[in-house]
Symmetry: C2
Subunit: 220 residues, 2 copies
């Protein structure tokens, strides 16, 4: 089992990527790598090019990962860069967002178990119920065309686990999607779902960090 | 213009409804009523039955509203209770969640302007882009059937503004929906959409409160 932890985002909205900010004294990305390591034999970390350069200067720039590679022009391209650095004999690849520091060891295990449940299963993801009311709107966004039935919809998190050969095949076409499972689905492979976690928040704003600091404090 | 502020939720998950917790020293619901008052001539507040009883004891139990009524068995039923207390000569009714303390005056005005843009418009809502990856799953939730195209989807917030006669007609059938616009859409009336606000968060957990306290502190 190898993990690819993706920290390609440049944090355009907030001036700098929030996944390098400190959370209880440790960079968010280091939490995410440590999470992945609870199930992975090795971790490849995908960093924005300027950060990847710093990794060569010492272990602090690697955030606990075994290997660091440059990100690509899109999230999917970044995952492909990471996947290229995963040893060829790895049977399973777990993809995880560097901005999700609080995915628990249980969650990583649960996703892996779902993947290994049957030979036909190509991938396994975690997700939570959709709590927002969702509407379909006209292309310019100014008018409602209908309310979405959210009964059978879920909001996707990471980690996501895949059979390595299936994930490599899914990425061979150099497609772009907001998650890896979508590329695997496009192959026709079965993707399982396990319950995600409320605390598995994606850190994108300073207030998200404040939220997680509060969660940590309240759990202590 | 009258507003119905809905605080019917019992906070089942967290032991008590978070909309009565203090945010910068004021109950969340009081922030929400003050927000609605920036555009409304009167505010009806819908409270859980035990809280509504306290309103009779003094102004503190009314959180700044002109009238307080008991909530119903569902969100839609609570809105109907509130609507029944809105004067018959009100031309516009704004519905707002008591758990959204930070909807700005600009947002209330923007929703009202969209409503009053044309005689055919029955309602106006605010909404933000969907940032999560969404999947369709089988009824038991264990397997993905597809990734949702989120291009034309938005996540709905409140305030929502309606022509009073249209909203009363929409609620006449005693229907249930996760927002009022859905009932108005069911009449075939046009519903406009304006951009919502990132800070217009719905408070449902202690960490949401921590998030908003942080937003306030960072803006000062």
């Amino acid at each position: 089992v190898w993990a690819v932890v993706v920290a390609g985002g440049r944090g355009a909205r907030y001036g700098r990527p929030k996944q390098f900010d400190l959370l209880a004294g440790r960079p968010v990305v280091e939490w995410a790598v440590a999470g992945a390591r609870t199930v992975a034999d090795g971790v490849v970390l995908v960093l924005p090019p300027d950060r990847a350069g710093m990794a060569a200067e010492g272990p602090a720039g690697r955030y606990g990962a075994d290997a660091v590679v440059d990100g690509g022009v899109s999230r999917s391209a970044s995952v492909r860069h990471g996947l290229a650095a995963v040893p060829g004999d790895a049977g399973v690849v777990v993809v995880h967002d560097a901005a999700r520091p609080f995915a628990s060891e249980e969650l990583f295990r649960s996703v892996l178990e779902a993947l290994l449940d049957g030979a036909a299963v190509g991938g396994a993801i975690c997700a939570v119920p959709v709590t927002d009311t969702l509407k379909r709107v006209v292309p310019d966004g100014t008018r409602v065309t209908g309310t979405v039935d959210r009964t059978c919809l879920v909001a996707v998190q990471t980690p996501q686990a895949f059979r390595a050969d299936v994930l490599r095949r899914a990425h061979a076409s150099a497609g772009d999607a907001t998650d890896d499972a979508a590329l695997v689905e496009a192959l026709g492979a079965e993707v399982r779902v396990v319950p995600g976690e409320a605390r598995n928040v994606k850190v994108t704003t300073p207030a998200d960090l404040a939220y997680l600091e509060h969660l940590l404090a309240s759990e202590r």
